[in-house]
Symmetry: C2
Subunit: 215 residues, 2 copies
């Protein structure tokens, strides 16, 4: 909750031991200190204009609209832009009881493998809250441009590597056109940025110097 | 991992106590039994053609491309369609060391509040793996059509409610046109499905019967 900026934790009949342990969670002390305990679920959600329950698909004969988190999350986000909503989680072991579900406007589920639907409570909460903060536009956003190496640097690298290879006896001097082209393509496939091309040029310069040096 | 269908857990220098506790995780016994421990990170990722590290933004002077999970997740999904990739998580307390990061092709982060960037390890893993299984198309998908109540049932409800209200002295009989319209709009705003309209009709019928019954 604290990671994603949600501040209002409401508890109904919490399992005291686990709750007190959680109070030590790094960085979330204020949130846990301000958590409010309510005598009933009705009291906890009274101020909200939308109540969404969470459930693992299965067992229960569901009397509610059940929405996948991708779609349900969108509806919740829209609601939260102007009004309060409650997102309900049951106990890790039993989930929400039918009575709890009757307070919900609709239900939301995280799609999981059929063979393993029951989720860890903290992980389910984290996924639901991240979904609400997630920015779909970021998925399409181009990453910040990294300055690519200029062709003149790639050509310099090609030239130096060819000299070193010839000097080392990797092929005969002078190198054939096909060898030159092979190395030129090899260098281009490295897809270097400008900084890394500089590093490579420095390394190649040093190797050539060592090869040329008198023994 | 088990919830979202990921099977290959590789461990490097695991903290024995925590790892043994985790073996009891409900439903994930097989996954944990098959977890492989490697002497070094290099060994653990040797078979992969893409290694992505995870990090909380901040502290470290990053020498890597750092991608938000919405974008990075898309790249990872694409890679996983045909090849193996490793998703790296560091210890909960210290994250990945600079040496670990040097084995990564790029880094991924979950956007969090600036004031609280450090995440619980299990929750971070759950969010990353859910992002890989998440179906963006589901966000736009219309929910399964729920059969809406037919107008004839809404009109029957309107009529019965008007009778009951008149009978109860809520307004004088015969009801004015404006009262009728008010109730008609009220009923429509209930946005009833076909099943719930039947339930309402039954309840209204019973109330009218009780009102008409001799005392």
């Amino acid at each position: 909750m604290s990671n994603f900026g949600f501040t209002d934790l409401a508890l109904v009949n919490p399992y005291e031991v686990a709750f007190r342990e959680a109070r030590s969670a790094v960085g979330a002390a204020a949130l846990l200190r301000n958590a409010v305990e309510y005598p009933t679920l009705a009291d906890a959600v009274a101020d909200c204009s939308l109540v969404v329950g969470t459930t693992a698909l299965g067992h229960r004969e569901l009397k509610h609209s059940l929405r996948r988190i991708e779609y349900g999350g969108r509806l919740l986000r829209k609601h939260l832009a102007s009004e309060r909503a409650a997102l309900l989680f049951g106990s890790e072991k039993f989930g929400l009881a039918n009575e709890d579900l009757s307070f919900c406007h609709w239900l939301m589920r995280i799609p999981t493998r059929d063979e393993h639907q029951s989720m860890n409570l903290g992980q389910a909460v984290a996924i639901c809250l991240f979904e609400l903060m997630r920015n779909p536009k970021e998925a399409a956003r181009k990453p910040a441009a990294i300055r690519k190496a200029k062709v003149k640097d790639l050509d310099l690298m090609t030239e130096r590597l060819l000299e070193i290879l010839a000097h080392s006896g990797y092929f005969e001097e002078p190198s054939s056109a096909s060898t030159t082209e092979k190395v030129r393509r090899l260098i281009r496939r490295m897809d270097l940025n400008s900084h890394d091309a500089d590093v490579w040029l420095g390394m190649l310069r040093q190797i050539r110097w060592k090869l040329d040096a008198p023994r």
